[in-house]
Symmetry: D2
Subunit: 332 residues, 4 copies
């Protein structure tokens, strides 16, 4: 199911490849772009940057990357190529336009960096004959088949940093903070930050949400355990954090406050893990492409960089992070 | 109007003084508590900590501070003494209860750290014969008579740090962020962070709010100046940042996003400026008290630590920060 | 060789266990102590803290931990239990003294957190009949059998953060910084930070050190590639960074500067990865102990938390991080 | 002595001015360059950037700045113009060459950003008829006449941040860290960081250095006061920090360790104070120039932005920071 060692699937040596970033930006995308550029250049392959995701691909916003373009981007968040969403990319005609843009320029391979929407586009281009490879770039860590996505570690760092800041002020006022974090389909950000911050509760699709029980427990923590402050972390779209905070104020001895962390989570310079992961994946994506392995996505599985058919990754049922939920429960 | 060199107003040498923190907590309050403790100890004066602000004073939550209590607090945000709001402290009877708590313990002087509400309490105690001194502790920098309050610099740092994080992600998506910051009566946080972040707009009581003009200018920045991202900083209670962001999305080429920074602003370890300012003010407050100068508040005025009658400070018309507004305008 | 699912090796249910930290402190050790305390408490097991490593064990500096002792330590660097080195612990007599201290208190199991010196002590105690388990706590990531050690990620973060700071000042003066980092036996810190910072060179046991070649290449980078600044990262004990910097100043167009990062690397609040890893390992160590699995150390192998015989881990030949070296070379 | 309100000294309206940075780079220099560019542009004045300090001026490395050149530099450390030292600039002939470079391009006014060496150059150019203004840019805060220099606050922040990191690891091992900081002529960095970190000792020109006394006191702190760790901050060029650390290890119960913070102090994104100060000073420098006030430097004095004759500033006897030394002593 996963491949690690590469066999060339035949075909001529590629001379020109392109890269685009799509969907929400993630810290580390630039590190991946840099790795693709550096690794391909060494092998004598030209790299083209496609600006603003699939929109730029369709409209031909495509430029040859120079070494200088990637020389100071390793530590920068966001993506120098820009990103956008293009729902119309599902349409055949639009895809053909994209393929023409590539063919006109003699570009033989394409690397896309993004989430599962991005992968779907790559899959279709691949089925239409363009050699395509995907790299998982999203802070949500919600892509099947890979244990980690580029940007996840930085987002986690940002959340934990924010909670660090709230702690002292929190205990000065006997406060309970209800904090909304991102995470999309999966709840990795809430779950991992809950463990890393030592939060009293997490509210995720997996845990569900029993408000009465939370209120009851907060009261218990305050009265029986003498806790001076508390943290509740909620995945986006699960609850209205403001309302829960208000109820905590009314029905427990904590003073409830809410905060929606929002885009701060995807900001800042990528942490080392994301820079390294992105470099590894960028390197491997180039190798896949030069070996004419089309329709694959790069994954980190059990600590190894491997590849997998995009359709398998997309259709896979997400592994439930059982042990981490159990760990959270035993630490509270 | 301001006093700098102290003359002892007579009275016996004090043996016991107390300190409380009140209102919203501010990073650096602990540094002030530590300075009070250290400076007073050297002079053979005992220091009592009053827990949870005026509430604790009225209820007698008062304990003698030991050296070890303040030995690791310099770098910690919040206040180890806790804080609360007690509207009833305006009542004579409640104040008398507070005074009794002090007298019972032989405490002759009181230092309060907080905002203008806190000052009012100190003024009344002072008028009832308790030797009282105030220290300005609030992130809002909204206390008349002092150029800087403890916590302001850290809050400013936190805002600029958050905007730093938003920049890269912002330019990846052609975004305009509308950011709500704290500030209470005055708009110092919005004004200073606007300059420090190079924001395109600030929305404050002083600037007013002309939404159409903002929309028009954002369009101009995007089309004429080719800006890839933009930042608008708004003082709390001025606008609904979400709505402005939505209108920006609809009527300009920027994609608008909003964020309410909230309590993150008052979090974290105090920056050096706040630690130093708090140490200076704590030291000076002890000197004022030991010289029986009651009813004064400590101020930083033109870079000097001085004292002023609390009632003068409270009634003073706040100096308008004209040059800083002008500076902001010339930098856009 | 590795075990993952636990079978109880028999023996009565333990009622009292102890934990110590030894060797250089590592950020995340406190998170491990907290996890041990929380997980054991839930199972009705008492946890004793041994202060100052094996020294404290021998001298009986042992105290029962209370919940409150671990309630605010998750985010703190260092170790609340203190640490020390005790070379005499190799001696039989000293070990017997340690065992007596445990037996006197009815402590049946011991968890040690540290590096390979720490493990050797645990192995000997285990062979003398004390049920012992090891957790890898060292910033150097130099313990065989585990892919990651507690503290490594934070040290890596600190290095990358420091290099981030040097970048801008570096390019203002056409500078080449030669930076010494820690790493002990293995070169993980130099290798991983070299990739994460995009350094021009790394100097490690594995790469060796050809000074003439470095000088020649620096000259090439400056003249041919127009680089405005450069970074060289060297493992400790490999070179005199100051001398290399001087030679760079003399023989290339860069202005060479050196810096020894030192203890800053092991400082600060642990990053999320270290907190999570420490929590996982603390939990697993308790499970091992309660299942009477003595003489094991906890490892993270291929992204799973597993256990291994300490003697196997100690004698194992360290896997060479070939692919990472190759990655570094392809990115320069 | 200081001027605040400007009267035009006559002369035609300037059309072209230039800016250079010289000496050691300081975080916030870019913010000053940006402010100069923005403020001058608004008034219809062209701004030229001189690259690599006086060297670039002499050699004609001068380019017209565009708006885009300063649009993302506010948050970046270092200086986009580069810097260098040119001892030969004392020579008449070299200065004439510089003046010719300006005249050839029709540049009528020059702003230099740097330390006192930089100011001397400006003074001489001013005496030779070029309209020159200085801005204090150095992390050392060692320029007479101004209470603060651009970069000082960021350096202070960096030091305090580093000491924060050392604290926890320090108390895990009963350590005393001896930390060398920058500061040049004056000892502001050691003095202010000593207060902000709560260090046990500072070693500066002003305090002098009595090693025996320090050893004796460290012993006292450890034995009598039960301190678990200690910090000594030493100004550069005062002592060999490694040797003091060794003696502490030998003669007290602390384990001594030394660290030279070096260039990390001048790194990183400027803190808000430096960005704001630089913006204020940049604005004021343009105003001075456009009013044909030559030979002045911009100062922050008692919280106001004012100007002063460069020669007065250079010859002024530095005010002794008496109250801050006293504050330090009362806090230990």
């Amino acid at each position: 199911m996963y491949i690690q060692d590469l066999v060339n699937k035949g075909g001529m040596k590629m001379k020109k490849i392109a890269v685009l970033t799509s969907g929400g930006d993630a810290p580390g995308m630039n590190a991946a772009i840099r790795a693709i550029m550096r690794v391909a250049s060494r092998k004598g392959v030209e790299v083209y940057g496609i600006y603003d995701g699939y929109t730029g691909l369709v409209n031909g916003k495509i430029e040859k990357l120079k070494n200088i373009d990637v020389s100071e981007i390793l530590s920068r968040g966001g993506t120098i190529l820009g990103s956008s969403r293009l729902p119309e990319f599902k349409e055949d005609q639009v895809q053909m336009q994209a393929i023409n843009q590539l063919k006109e320029r003699g570009i033989e391979g394409l690397i896309v960096i993004g989430g599962d929407g991005t992968y779907r586009g790559a899959l279709e281009l691949s089925q239409k004959g363009i050699c395509c490879v995907g790299i998982p770039g999203t802070i949500d860590n919600d892509i099947n088949g890979t244990d980690e996505t580029i940007g996840f570690h930085t987002a986690l760092y940002n959340i934990v940093d924010a909670v660090n800041k709230l702690r002292d002020t929190s205990s000065s006022h006997h406060r309970c903070f209800v904090i909304e974090v991102m995470g999309n389909h999966k709840d990795s950000l809430a779950l991992y930050s809950g463990i890393a911050c030592g939060s009293e509760f997490i509210i995720t699709k997996n845990t569900g949400y029993d408000e009465d029980y939370i209120i009851q427990m907060m009261d218990y923590y305050e009265k029986q355990q003498g806790k001076k402050h508390a943290i509740i972390i909620a995945s986006e779209k699960m609850i209205d954090v403001e309302k829960l905070a208000e109820r905590i104020s009314k029905e427990t001895h904590f003073s409830g406050r809410s905060i929606v962390l929002g885009h701060i989570q995807r900001g800042g310079s990528p942490v080392p893990q994301d820079r390294i992961l992105a470099s590894q994946m960028g390197q491997y994506a180039v190798e896949l492409l030069l070996n004419h392995q089309s329709g694959y996505c790069v994954c980190k599985k059990d600590n190894h960089i491997v590849a997998r058919k995009i359709e398998d990754a997309l259709n896979d049922v997400s592994e439930i992070q059982e042990r981490m939920y159990q760990l959270f429960n035993e630490l509270v």
